[in-house]
């Protein structure tokens, strides 16, 4: 009955930081590809395009989401992840090696690396799921937790299909279901893993941290179920080769557009009017989701391929915007929390750990990158400018994270601890 009220307010800093620090490193790799091979990156199914997509969705977005889940589980899940330092080290190492192998497999056409990538990424995700899922299925339950469960299950299924596809790339033999598996793979990854998690986290974070009116209880309770139902229907539709396969996409789009409108409204009408950069990232992210949904609708109606590319780019930037906003809160909070809990009297306040000025510059670099990225499908060379601004953005992100970590270690070594003798 009383099983599992987490006693942890936060996991150790290193647990989350190792994931977050890897995000800008992969971001810099992606920026280089955009600068030196813009045409290949934007050519559908080109090996460098596939390498870029996996750098973006695995190395940047999923890496950030896995790190954030280690933080959120201890607060939202009711039970801390056991031995978080060891678990995060294993998962992070496997996931990083897997992502690198997959990107190199695509970029350099080394077929053996697809198998290596499948083993590493599969192991990382299965290990992560087998740790997290039992904790999420405990006696405590709420809508955000249910969404986290569905997201992790979707990640597991996405990885399974990814491994199937990796074996096809490794052997060069593509079965008759390859296209269907690929569509199911990215549908599960984009909607089941990324959108599912962000929507359910928003239900908690937007309402509580920005003090807004609550989301509708019905929506919070049912949006995950509807997304699962529609994704299942889409897969069935595809495998039965039924006409008008976009029908299921339109249901997902309507649902997510509802989320965009209600979240924007809540952020606009929030009671806590003090503006910080995390709100800008949330608003920007939600607006980008809106752009992604509208562009995809435009693509379905017009069959204009560039709109599909815009939709995918906007969707990725939506996730990145939310991740950058969350990182900007999680990292200073963890640094402050661990130092202050250890009794350091000279613990810096959050706004001095990542100064507001640097956070604002990061946001403006992100915004500039967004503009160039959304124009790139129409004017390919603009992707070079996008690569340059994203280089600056990821370099600054890396600097912010390293500076926060150094400040933490510096205070640990040289700070003054509270004691009754002081």
């Amino acid at each position: 009955m009383f099983e599992g009220l987490s006693l942890d307010q936060a996991p150790p800093l290193s647990v989350v930081m190792r994931f977050f620090l890897t995000v800008p490193v992969f971001g810099l790799f992606l920026s280089l590809l955009m600068i030196f091979a813009p045409h290949d990156v934007l050519t559908l199914s080109h090996p460098l395009s596939l390498a870029s997509i996996h750098l973006l969705f695995l190395g940047i977005i999923s890496m950030g989401m896995l790190g954030a889940l280690f933080q959120m589980q201890s607060v939202l899940g009711g039970k801390p992840i056991p031995q978080p330092q060891g678990s995060s080290l294993i998962i992070h190492t496997l996931f990083t090696l897997g992502t690198l192998s997959l990107v190199c497999a695509f970029a350099f056409g080394i077929s053996e690396l697809f198998i290596v990538a499948g083993v590493f990424l599969g192991s990382a995700i299965v290990y992560f799921a087998q740790i997290l899922l039992p904790l999420l299925f405990g006696s405590i339950t709420h809508d955000t937790l249910k969404g986290m469960r569905l997201a992790v299950i979707a990640l597991l299924l996405t990885a399974t299909l990814g491994i199937v596809m990796a074996t096809s790339y490794a052997s060069g033999v593509f079965g008759e279901y390859h296209a269907l598996i690929r569509t199911t793979h990215y549908s599960l990854g984009l909607i089941g893993w990324i959108a599912m998690l962000i929507v359910h986290v928003a239900f908690q974070v937007v309402e509580m941290f920005y003090v807004t009116t609550p989301y509708s209880a019905w929506c919070k309770h049912n949006v995950g179920r509807i997304l699962v139902g529609v994704l299942a229907l889409k897969v069935l539709w595809l495998f039965l080769n039924l006409p008008f396969p976009w029908v299921t996409d339109m249901i997902v789009i309507s649902l997510l557009l509802g989320f965009v409108v209600t979240t924007m409204k809540r952020l606009q009408m929030r009671k806590r009017r003090v503006s910080d950069v995390s709100i800008w990232f949330w608003r920007g992210g939600i607006a980008l989701l809106g752009i992604a949904l509208m562009s995809y609708t435009g693509y379905v109606l017009s069959d204009y391929a560039s709109l599909e590319t815009v939709s995918l780019i906007a969707f990725a930037l939506f996730a990145l915007s939310i991740i950058l906003g969350m990182m900007g809160k999680i990292v200073p909070f963890l640094v402050w929390f661990h130092l202050s809990s250890s009794g350091f009297m000279d613990t810096p306040i959050m706004s001095n750990i990542i100064p507001q000025k640097r956070s604002k510059i990061l946001f403006w670099l992100f915004s500039t990158t967004v503009i160039f990225a959304l124009l790139a499908p129409f004017y390919t060379n603009i992707l070079i400018l996008c690569g340059l601004t994203s280089t600056a953005m990821f370099a600054l992100l890396l600097f912010n994270l390293i500076a926060a970590k150094r400040l933490y270690h510096h205070t640990l070594r040289h700070g003054t601890k509270f004691s009754f003798e002081n």
Binding site: L7, V75, F333, I349
Partner: protein, 144 residues
């Protein structure tokens, strides 16, 4: 039930905090000080309701003396210390410090509230069962 009653009190405290923060952001210093004082008293009263009545009754019913309620008491101590720091910053006119401390306070408070609303209060509701209404009445009658 306990969950609804205490959750509404959390929201009322949040509202007072945002009003104080908004007033300070608008440079309405006297208004901010008055609103913060209301928030300060409301939050301490909320902690008192839990520590003096709710948690003790829950612990007696369940025999869980060193479990989740103890952790919540520990977090109350941390939050109270931050409340004092914010009060000091506001009194001394260090408004940037007030916002800076307020940022970590708000995250910690909301994480704390999440745990209570999603885990502890439902446990207390189950433990108190039909006596929950009497407990709510007792809490309402507690002087601030």
């Amino acid at each position: 039930m306990i969950l609804e009653f205490m959750r509404d009190d959390h929201r009322a405290c949040d509202h007072l905090y945002t009003e104080a923060e908004n007033a300070l952001a608008d440079k309405k210093i006297d208004e901010a000080k008055t609103l913060f004082d209301q928030f300060y008293r409301a939050t301490n009263h909320h902690f008192d309701m839990e520590e003096r009545e709710l948690f003790i009754t829950f612990e007696k019913r369940t025999g869980m003396m060193g479990g989740p309620t103890q952790m919540m008491r520990y977090e109350h101590q941390q939050l109270r210390a931050q409340l004092e720091s914010m009060l000091k910053a506001l009194t001394e006119g260090k408004y940037d410090d007030f916002f800076g401390i307020g940022e970590s306070f708000m995250i910690m408070l909301q994480q704390h509230n999440m745990k209570e609303e999603q885990m502890l209060y439902p446990m207390i509701d189950r433990a108190l069962a039909d006596d929950a209404e009497i407990m709510i009445q007792t809490l309402k009658e507690m002087p601030q």
